[in-house]
Symmetry: C2
Subunit: 600 residues, 2 copies
Amino acid sequence: MSNDARTPSERVSTWLAGFGAALERADIAAAVAMFDDDSYWRDLVTFTWNITTLEGKPAIQAMLDTTLGEVRPNSWALTGEATGSGELSEGWFSFETAVARGKGQIRLKGDRCWTLLTTMTELKGFEEPRGATRPRGVEHGAFQDRKNWQQRKDQAEAELGYITQPYCVIIGGGQGGIAMGARLKRLGVPTIIVEKNERPGDSWRKRYKSLCLHDPVWYDHLPYLPFPDHWPVFAPKDKIGDWLEMYTKVMELNYWGSSEAKSAQYDEATGEWNVVVERGGETVVLRPKQLVLATGMSGIANVPQFPGAERFQGTQHHSSQHPGGEAFHGKRCVVIGSNNSAHDICADLWEHGADVTMVQRTSTHIARSDSLMDLALGGLYSEQAVANGITTDTADMIFASIPYKIMHEFQIPIYKQMAERDAEFYERLAAAGFMLDWGEDGSGLFMKYLRRGSGYYIDVGASELIIEGKVKLKSGVGVAAITAHGVRLSDGSELPADLIVYATGYGSMNGWAARLISQEVADKVGKCWGLGSNTTKDPGPWEGEQRNMWKPTHQEALWFHGGNLHQSRHYSQFLSLQLKARMEGIPTPVYGMGEVCHLG
Amino acid sequence: MSNDARTPSERVSTWLAGFGAALERADIAAAVAMFDDDSYWRDLVTFTWNITTLEGKPAIQAMLDTTLGEVRPNSWALTGEATGSGELSEGWFSFETAVARGKGQIRLKGDRCWTLLTTMTELKGFEEPRGATRPRGVEHGAFQDRKNWQQRKDQAEAELGYITQPYCVIIGGGQGGIAMGARLKRLGVPTIIVEKNERPGDSWRKRYKSLCLHDPVWYDHLPYLPFPDHWPVFAPKDKIGDWLEMYTKVMELNYWGSSEAKSAQYDEATGEWNVVVERGGETVVLRPKQLVLATGMSGIANVPQFPGAERFQGTQHHSSQHPGGEAFHGKRCVVIGSNNSAHDICADLWEHGADVTMVQRTSTHIARSDSLMDLALGGLYSEQAVANGITTDTADMIFASIPYKIMHEFQIPIYKQMAERDAEFYERLAAAGFMLDWGEDGSGLFMKYLRRGSGYYIDVGASELIIEGKVKLKSGVGVAAITAHGVRLSDGSELPADLIVYATGYGSMNGWAARLISQEVADKVGKCWGLGSNTTKDPGPWEGEQRNMWKPTHQEALWFHGGNLHQSRHYSQFLSLQLKARMEGIPTPVYGMGEVCHLG
């Protein structure tokens, strides 16, 4: 069937030409026939004004039936050389729609498409001014009573939110809100970022003393202004905080620090939100057309109600309220939980001379930071990748091109490798009593992250403390009750405690919507995050994309942004384009809004 | 003589191989024979531990006779493809010495070298940690009583200058001092930047309201962290100020704002400077091994003593003290001078509603900003250049490869083009009485800049005011006297004035040395800047390089850094390597220290 003498570039070019022609003449059947039975088309905005994966030909057909007439795709062209071996070919391509330009990635098996990724890069007529179209800056010439850049900036900042209204308000000024703000700034979308901490970066500064990024630098760049090439592999929290503060300044973001959003109500009649913000003791009501919650992919803290907690005479708090270990030298500390926060807090307490016990109720997936960096990320995000010509955007696009449905298949071998590479480490950890897992299907950390946002620890040192017994461990037990002086476990033993930390996770991000907007709206949009994989904390049915993230929700004009630094960077592009299109009155018919199946 | 069938790459490779072999066997005569009679070898540090241009074969021979044995150059290799047409070939190459790695550029006429540029890129064993050798950041693991990054940084900052001494002190925290600081930071040279203004960038913020960069963005990048691609072509002063402030912070420079260097004395016995600094009301004595004056290429203000100045009843000050036009609405202002500062100040005064007269005593070269950008810079520093693959460093290297001796020949055609392109503009300006020039040999703005640092104006709007008579002009006159109420000109006319601004230039940078160190040391090092071109304000004899800039001076351990953003960026590389070599005890035998021919 496939002509093996053709080069990968020829195969991909031929496919694109045929596909483009079929779409041009609205021959959907012919276009769909060009896909393999086992096929996936992931579209970021261009066809569906959504973030969707169509799995298999019927789904692809249904999407084209609905969208093709409006989208008017055209100009499909291979960019660069395609690669491949045997029956597999893959390549990059550019294309256009009626209103946008896009790029994508395609994998062919023989002559048929296995995976197709289409992404929007820019809206025609609303391109970000950059390079040759960058602003001139100050106009040369002489003008009386001119206001210079600083004066115009100060005036605009003073007026925005008071005399003029932003088009968009972002609640949450961490890296997610900041990345979104930068994208929207360049697109000319007036935006205010509302952050309860005082300075950009404080959400990092206020963390435990020893915290550093767990992801390596090549994974972490913000949009437009990458870290310089002497930046450390794992940046310390304060260094990241300083970068975020600087970035916010030079990107000229409208960042309201020390400002807390108290409530938000959507007015359907005016198509506006009323967002009540407390800012420096004043109450300000913002009236944006769009509201983005960028409060982090962790929702409201999940504090289980253990019997007797109210009688505990020591200090107890959720991990999100933990101030760091300085006050606990010599104190007996019990940390309930065994995932990332629990490990970080145990290590931090031990470093401050506390007596620490971790209570592990269920198994945890552990991946050592260096192994994760080398084995899981290295192909795409590393010095070697950079040397191989894989830019950050290319890496993001490659990652985006792998359908979630089959992503675990790509991950399982990596974790097999990791298990071998670090076999001795895992043996010692298991020997200390730690309950290890590799994800329900052996697919490891990223799948756990994508499915449930938790259930793992990227080991940066705490595991060794557990191995050596410096952090004590009670595993395979639950909490029966909290006593006046400690924790009674399900095996009957008691742990005396001066401090109990509930490292017991977070609810879904829509918990913020419940708190800020209403339970009704929170229920209307439903659970955020997760793929519907029918694994722990990610119940089915299968969604195929992250619930509610970076795309339209069932609440008009409400959006969720978040994720790790990679996702904040990449998906801010697509969310910002969706908002810009709406601001400019470009029709955005959304295809593929799923039903809400879970409330949280 | 030359085999025309060979490609440029073959010619250059052959030349490099022969040259390298001759040097390897210390056959200096053979090496020198490979140069054309009309030849130039510009060395930035690698052979001469200096910034030198050897002009012609005898000079090249003399340099090799002295330096070859110690330098031990080797591994000369073409990088990339050479280019050429007819008898000309040019290409890039890498090479090494005993202690360093370098790169360079060569132009051949036939088989002989016309121009050779050798530059040092790094010292072996002391490479900047970057890319694959970047620091890891926080060490994973758990350590009791650890100090984290912020704590170590705070401690180091608190101690430097008090408990520990910096290796280098830089006086002046504008873009020059900041660029130097960044280079030295990455090289691990403990450095303090002493700046009298409070915040980095203040030297820009405090300028006239309408000021923006006169050079376009591609010319202006700082080392290591280029402006993002939406940065305006001509950045407003406050925006540059904010960038400098951010850069100083994220590059982790030890920047002492609100600190003024009062005096500096060199102790030959200890090989240290004693630098007395007033910092926040305290006196601190710094004891660095090296002292860099980065106070800007303008030296001490030059205020001519006009007869009667003491009786003037209005406000009078040098342009460097001019606060901006806000206070002068409706006032009669006389600006003595017709170069850059004079034009900026006249335009700023007019914008604030003042009655302004410029007194032009001698001719001025005018180049319109857009024409300069397109015609003079465009080939190297522009969006088109970027699209053509010319990186900032490549552009800097190309510029550096043109010998000063013949640079005017490259410039003259550009300014002929400019005269044609803007013919109407120049006619109108001349018709208004303005005395125009194109440099003494028609070589225009850059040569004037390199020779005397003044005598021109990059027109960003003031010329139109003069053309239209909005700024009045008295040209071809001198100042006879200052009266109680104004200025009496040499033609007998009087200009009543509430404000007199002496836009009368600056002395040589060694004036700062006189003020800070001693007149003796200022005389020992002599005049800074200029090429010895025997043109106005740049008396002979011919130096061939900028006097005293970025290279050893006749005062041990005293250095001058400065120039425009391009020079600050590029030459900070070579100055920082010279300092690092000294810090590491690498022998740095300096070749080609000229005699001091002018004191200022």
